[in-house]
């Protein structure tokens, strides 16, 4: 039996990795993958708490999170494709028409 803390430390590490990915990577697709990593670390946290507390709410929320993540993937990739058609790049440093 692995204790709760191990799960929490693992999920927190994955979350931080996701944040680092979003901040440092320049490819829009990889940034998006890092965001998915953050959402999945949240799922791990929720399932761990749910199991530890013996309460189903956390697992129900996980289903919602997965659904939303799927919807986000559909919308996000569509936006990336629309942008690529106009600019032939997915590098966020080159996407810079708008700036002050």
């Amino acid at each position: 039996m692995i204790d709760l803390n191990s799960y929490l430390i693992l999920s927190a590490s994955v979350f931080v990795l996701g944040v680092i990915g979003v901040v440092t990577r320049r490819n829009a697709i990889i940034v998006f993958m890092s965001i998915e990593l953050m959402l999945n670390s949240v799922n791990l946290t929720l399932v761990a708490f749910s199991s530890f507390l013996g309460d189903a709410t956390g697992q129900i929320l996980v289903f919602f999170v997965m659904t939303i993540a799927a919807a986000e993937a559909a919308v996000g990739l569509a936006i990336v494709i629309a942008l690529f058609r106009n600019k032939q790049t997915v590098n966020i440093d080159e996407i810079n028409i708008l700036k002050w």
């Binding site: 959402l39 106009n86 996407i95």
Partner: protein
Amino acid sequence: MNEFRLSDLWIIAPFLAVVLTSMAVLILEGIRRNNATASYATSITGLVTALGLTAATYGSADSGFRDMVSQGAFATYFSGLFIVVGLLTIVVSRGYLRRQRWQHGEYYALILSAVSGMILMASGTDLIVIFLGIELMSLAFYVLAGFFRTKASSNESALKYFLLGAFATGFLLYGVALLYGVTGSTNLAVISSKAGSLGGDPLFLLGVGMIVIALGFKVAAVPFHMWAPDVYEGAPTAVTGFMATAGKAAAFAAFGSVFLKGLAFTGTDVNLLLAILAALSMVVGNITAVVQNNIKRMLAYSSVAHAGYILAGVAAGNADGQTGMMFYVGAYAFMTLGAFTIVGMLEGVDGQGLTYGDYTGLSGRHPAAAFLMAVFMFSLAGIPPLAGFFGKYYVFLAAVEAGMTWLAVIGVLTSLVSVYYYLRLVVEMYFREPATGPDSHPAPGSMAIAALSAYAVVQLGIYPSILLNLINGRI
């Protein structure tokens, strides 16, 4: 544990009306392509029905779906505001999309979907429902921001909004997960009842902090505002107006649900944190707005600054703060929607006509538009007796009552800075010789909505009690 009751459906009746209309519009688009008129008429009908249902539920207070959603003055006021702003936006968009030659019926379905999400954000009493509401709204906004899919600036706006919005979602969910782990529930009332004994728990505070970050992103409070100017500038102007008004109001409804109604934090470090965010937003928003030359970008930084003022009401955390926040959000919705309506009306097909220079001598070319724009600018600057003045007055009063006099002082000082860039536009329109500006297009729909918004701004300035009674459920 109460089981499902049919009366639960009555509690979410406005939401159901909006979401079903949204689906109906999508199906209509699938059956008959390129028939935007039918979608337009259906959307208007659906929203008017939803407004009727909201009015019918006014005054009742109940909760349903196992305390997931509630009905009451707070939810009804915000639902009504979202539906009205949605209606106005749809009327404005009709002419705007025609002028921009990008008439597609899906647009209306997306606006309705966003409105339904906002209603959930205002009526949810459980973090799961509030999260779903935020996502329902945001996903529609991402698509709307990129609606002109052949324009690179619209694509860029959508991508930036999407990446930062999804990033914020990650924080929101992690915060919800931590609160759930510490308290064993996602229900705000349960979390609130355990907050006292858990006040110092680091996981609990981390969870609350994460939710503050996520909602800060959604209201575009400094330092989480970086997306706002780019997104507001690149998105279609009608969409920008909608995002800046209803979208911001919805994010503040979520702020209110979590931090004013749900977790009562009055007098704690959380309020101080919110106050610091408010002060930063006022200072950075107003000062950056001064150097802008694009009107949409100026209004974007102005919206950051106003997010700061409204946040001051939330930070105060008392009853007056809540009233002030709700009043300000309503007043702000009308003045900003009106301003963006005028901007959208004067915008050229290729995105021209958006700088200060394009407004030079507008009073000669288009006196009505110039006059309405001047009303909105005066109101945004907070000059009495317009609605914007009373909004600021109520939130600053609440801040002083909560012992945050320094916040009110910063607010007043930064308001003075804001007068410069709002009145600069008025000077440009009235006191400069008309250059050969871009042609103004006849836009009766937009003019009517702008006039209606200006009427609301003046009316709320002279009789603020109309809205205050509505907020406090005294009608």
